[in-house]
């Protein structure tokens, strides 16, 4: 201990010897790292959750390339009236919207699909008829009824382009350049705004819309939340210290943390992902906590020893604070390290890694910049730390301490109940995430998705790639029948409302060439006839017409199933059942099927989320425990330190269970972060108790009581800082971030409460020797009464 003390003493003596150099260096670091920030880019794609070399993602990209699939932008026209969209006004509206989107230079006019652009393929005795559904502009209800009849008799578009009950229809568009999707989304919204409606509801949806929308969200979030959190933290510092330095010094620490986290991220060429947008906001709260503890200690020293010189005060403060500051910084970093290591998602890895860097720099600054800055300034008393007596915060904490130490058994019992509730909650924890839940339920994009999934077959696609042995094998009737059976099977699965493939087109062609008889909606037996149908179709179609259904060699085909839900629990059933069918029923040596599409990709990465979550928590827990053990030189101490955070984690699980919050990308990180940050409270508590007992020779139970007005007060402020930091994140427009913020804030609250209640209660009950309790517990008990007497006599 002596050598330990002397090294920090020498270190802080050196730091305070050249304060100006240290401060200059600090500003150089802030400016140098901050200079990279303007080069940051935003990546809001949903694919950004997956590493670029993920096999499921690679395969999907390959499939999209083979079949020329692009994520469309969609306008949905919904009419809940008697005729649905099949009334003259709504049909004219579809025509109007179609014409307008075709005028947009960003949209590929050739790929705009709506009732107004599409052909109806029918037949009569003479042959096949290919005519527009809109032969003429529909003027009367009779015209509209005729169109309805034609559409309802054309199975290919039902559920995909028009609702089966006629209540909605889509205008499907494709942008030339996906980077322009956000811009096009805005333009489509404006178009919908000025559209001549007659009671129809219009929605804009699509993947481009999602990504575009997230960029808007991210920018709006940062512009709003960062200033709020800075203002609140500043107010908190004013309230806590009531001096200029008490505000400015923590501000520099905040700057150092955010500048280094974002600066290193920019320098590493890592873009801002949806998740990492929360980084500056939470760094503000977490980084400032250490400087609050240091400054509190400083003002306390100043109040208690007004006769001492500034440098002596500062060195003394730092000697007392370096260990808890270092350990708490390291534990917070461990929480983020756990996320960074255990997750395979680039966005979560970046979030963990760069938050860790920011916290590390903030810790370093707390140990160097803070003493340097303090030593330059003359000693100025904080009115919050009067020698005359404790302020309201100290007195409140003191009262809390009095109650807790008087009711230790109740406190421990309550903690036990929380434990049980948490375990039950943790066992019920399930993964459920859907991309649309990235948006608030009141947002247009969310409403659009709801409208499409309610009236049409669904906006979520599961693709099945069919591969055959030879060119043109797709024409073989036996292969087509196998695909047909697969499609029938898929529609028996929950939430799968429809599917399309080349088979549907072949059946329709067969029907139209056989006088349009419904009974001829089937796969013909003759392989030559099927190939001739395609030649026939090409007489009026585009060369690339079937690109999305079949490859140019007629060797591969794509079946696209539509689901009305993107939620993991629902897609899981569909993906797993479809895979079983493929493995046991579909696949032969001649023909093979493979799953792809968004539903499949999402299933694969979400499937690993639960494991990732427990891995990161376990990692953080073990490492934090080890660190505290080393710091306190006691295994027992390590266990005591992690009890409050384990309680906090368990109450988070219980809270998630009660609130129906499921494990998703955002929320899966809660436990590890909460653990790393929450443990700070118990470390400060234990460190202070140990200091009071072993170094200052205070009676153990007196030390426990004395903890509350001093360290308790500092913990209260650092808790509020962290709580506010994450709480502000709870105001985010992005629901996953808002949930993450709320859950961590909640767990920090529990960590703080249990560090101030359960931990002292346990210490009082267990009387651990590592804190300086005498091994003979009877002695402690006898001393208890007299110790309390002494405290009461204190002013």
């Amino acid at each position: 201990m002596k050598t330990n003390q002397s090294i920090p003493h020498r270190f802080f003596f050196a730091v305070t010897a050249k304060p100006k150099t240290i401060m200059a260096l600090a500003f150089v670091i802030i400016i140098a790292t901050g200079a990279f920030i303007p080069t940051l880019t935003i990546d809001s794609r949903s694919e950004a959750f997956l590493p670029e070399d993920d096999p499921a993602l690679l395969y999907r990209d390959h499939v999209e390339e083979t079949f020329g699939l692009k994520d469309p932008m969609v306008i949905a026209v919904v009419n809940k009236g008697e005729h649905g969209v099949f009334n003259p006004q709504s049909l004219q509206l579809i025509q109007w919207l179609t014409n307008e989107v075709m005028k947009m230079p960003e949209i590929n006019r050739d790929r705009v699909v709506s009732l107004a652009t599409e052909d109806n393929i029918t037949g009569n005795e003479e042959g096949m008829l290919v005519e527009k559904f809109y032969k003429n502009q529909p003027e009367t209800q009779n015209d509209a009824d005729n169109i309805r009849k034609a559409v309802m008799d054309f199975p290919l578009y039902l559920g995909s382009l028009v609702a089966r009950d006629g209540s909605s229809a889509l205008i499907v568009t494709e942008v030339y350049d996906v980077n322009e999707a956000p811009k096009v989304y805005e333009k489509l919204l404006a178009l919908v705004e000025r559209a001549p409606t007659h009671g129809e509801q219009l929605h804009v949806a699509g993947d481009g819309a999602v990504s575009g929308y997230l960029v808007t969200y991210i920018n709006a979030d940062s512009a709003r939340l960062v200033p709020i959190s800075v203002v609140i933290i500043t107010l908190l510092c004013i309230l806590s210290f009531r001096t200029w330095r008490g505000v400015l010094i923590p501000t520099v620490i905040i700057l150092s943390a955010t500048a280094s986290a974002l600066g290193f991220m920019a320098a590493a060429g890592v873009p801002i992902y949806v998740i990492t947008t929360s980084m500056p906001i939470l760094l503000v709260g977490v980084a400032v906590a250490d400087s609050i503890h240091v400054l509190s200690q400083y003002y306390e020293e100043l109040a208690n020893h007004p006769e001492k010189g500034q440098r002596e005060l500062v060195v003394r403060t730092m000697e007392l604070m370096w260990r808890p500051v270092t350990v708490t910084t390291l534990t917070s970093m461990i929480g983020f390290l756990g996320i960074s290591i255990s997750s395979f998602m680039p966005s979560m890895q970046a979030f963990g890694l760069f938050s860790l860097i920011g916290l590390g720099v903030a810790g370093l600054f707390s140990l160097t910049f803070v003493p340097a800055a303090l030593v330059i300034l003359k000693p100025v008393h904080s009115s919050a730390f009067k020698t005359s007596g404790p302020d309201i915060f100290s007195r409140t904490m003191d009262k809390v301490g009095g109650w807790v130490l008087g009711h230790t058994k109740i406190v421990i019992f309550l903690a036990f109940i929380v434990c049980v509730g948490g375990v039950i909650g943790a066992l019920k924890l399930e993964v459920n995430e859907s991309w649309v839940e990235n948006f608030r339920a009141s947002e247009p994009i969310f409403l659009a998705d709801v409208a499409i999934n309610e009236t049409l077959d669904g906006s979520n696609t599961l693709d099945i790639v069919i591969e055959t042995a030879n060119k043109e094998d797709i024409f073989k009737p036996e292969n087509l029948r196998r695909i047909d059976a697969l499609q029938s099977f898929l529609t028996t699965l929950p939430h799968v409302n429809g599917s399309t493939s080349i088979v549907d087109y072949i059946k329709q062609m067969n029907r139209s060439l056989n006088e349009n008889k419904t009974s001829e909606y089937l796969i013909p037996d003759d392989v030559d006839l099927i190939s001739q149908y395609f030649l026939l179709y090409s007489a009026s179609g585009d060369p690339t017409d079937f690109e999305e259904q079949v490859d140019y060699d007629y060797q591969m085909a794509l079946v696209r199933a539509r689901l009305d839900s993107a939620r993991y629990q629902q897609s899981k059933v569909v993906v797993e059942e479809a895979q079983k069918y493929i493995d046991y029923v579909f696949n032969t040596d001649e023909i093979k099927a493979t799953l792809s599409g968004r539903v499949n990709v999402d299933y694969h990465w979400l499937d690993t989320l639960l494991g990732t979550q427990f891995k990161s928590v376990l990692f953080a827990l073990v490492l934090v425990w080890l660190l505290v053990c080393v710091s306190l030189r006691s295994f027992y101490g390590g266990i005591l330190a992690v009890i409050p955070v384990m309680l906090a984690c368990l109450s988070v699980y219980a809270f998630m269970g009660v609130m129906g919050i499921t494990l998703a990308v955002g929320t899966s990180m809660t436990a590890a972060i909460a653990l790393g940050i929450g443990v700070d409270f118990s470390i400060h508590t234990l460190d202070r108790i140990k200091l009071l007992i072993t170094d200052q020779g205070v009676e153990p139970d007196v030390a426990l009581r004395r903890l509350f007005p001093t360290t308790g007060r500092a913990l209260l402020f650092s808790f509020v800082a962290v709580f506010v930091g994450f709480g502000i994140l709870g105001l985010s427009y992005v629901p996953p971030l808002s949930k993450l913020g709320m859950l961590i804030a909640f767990s920090v609250l529990i960590s703080f409460i249990s560090s101030m209640t359960v931990l002292p209660a346990l210490i009082k009950q267990l009387k651990p020797a590592f804190l300086g309790y005498s091994k003979k517990c009877s002695v402690c008990e006898r001393n208890e009464r007299s110790a309390l007497e002494i405290i009461k006599q204190q002013p």
């Binding site: 230079p105 006019r109 030559d528 190939s531 001739q532 149908y533 030649l535 009026s540 060369p543 140019y552």
Partner: protein, 266 residues
């Protein structure tokens, strides 16, 4: 918006041509010279269609093709020889000079043993899975006078031959929509008055496709392009027509262009 593009491109065409127009023959003069070239009343030829998608996958179809003018009316018959699964499939079309009258089209499907009538196509529709439009097939190497206004904008060279660049813009939106393009630029060989290269811009004024007429030589006194290469810039799809065994002299029987022959075969 479309009008704006149209007007501004007209302006550009006008502006650039007014500087050069002094020595260049006018667009209309060139168009008339092209259309005055002899194409023969009837022709029979072997036509190989080779289509390639953007991944480089190829479909090859071999046919025997006939074309004959009946006054202003033009009839085309195509009999498929290869590949096996579409052998004996045959296509017949009557293009009427009267624009108001829809063209008639039939297809014989041997697997059904039936001639089926198929709906008339728009002029801008793609012809039997190729990158050529029905209008391209109908005009071959000629030019439609009524559909465009034209200016000669430059001199250039294609495949080593001197040519005039004629910029043509569709007369109105309706025509543009029918044809599937807004404007085009053709390089016309001023020696033999045949188009060697054409570029098309779609209705949003994006480059749509480029057509090359190659292997041009005289057959029985008539200038004939033996290769037509079309590249669709938007889809990456590519078409190559190769004509061989071209014969203008023997004539083609009227009966070739009937449903009976379509079904019975040649």
């Amino acid at each position: 918006m479309k009008k704006l593009i149209l007007n501004s491109s007209l302006f550009l065409v006008f502006f650039s041509s007014s500087i050069l127009a002094i020595e260049l023959p006018s667009g209309d003069e060139i168009a008339l010279k092209i259309n005055a070239r002899d194409e023969g009343i009837a022709v029979s030829r072997h036509l190989k269609m080779q289509m390639t998608d953007r991944h480089g996958k190829v479909r090859v179809r071999e046919t025997r093709a006939f074309r004959k003018y009946f006054g202003d009316e033009k009839r085309t018959a195509i009999f498929y020889l290869k590949p096996k699964n579409i052998k004996d499939t045959a296509f017949l079309t009557y293009d009427y000079a009267d624009k108001e009258k829809d063209d008639d089209q039939w297809l014989y499907l041997p697997a059904m043993r039936k001639v089926r009538r198929i709906s008339a196509s728009d002029r801008g529709d793609y012809f039997l899975g190729t990158d050529l439009s029905y209008e391209d097939i109908k005009l071959e190497t000629r030019i439609s006078i009524k559909d465009y206004t034209r200016k000669t904008i430059a001199e250039s060279e294609v495949d080593g031959f001197h040519c005039y660049v004629v910029a043509e813009t569709t007369v109105d939106n309706e025509t543009a929509e029918e044809l599937g393009h807004l404007r085009r630029e053709s390089c016309v060989d001023d020696n033999i008055w045949i188009v060697r290269k054409s570029q098309f811009w779609d209705l949003q004024d994006n480059l749509l496709k480029t057509t090359y007429f190659r292997d041009i030589s005289k057959v029985q006194g008539i200038w004939t392009a033996h290769t037509i290469d079309v590249e669709n810039h938007k889809t990456g799809h590519h078409t190559k027509f190769t004509f061989s065994d071209v014969d203008y002299s023997k004539g083609v029987k009227d009966s070739v262009f009937t449903k009976n022959v379509l079904k019975r075969g040649l």
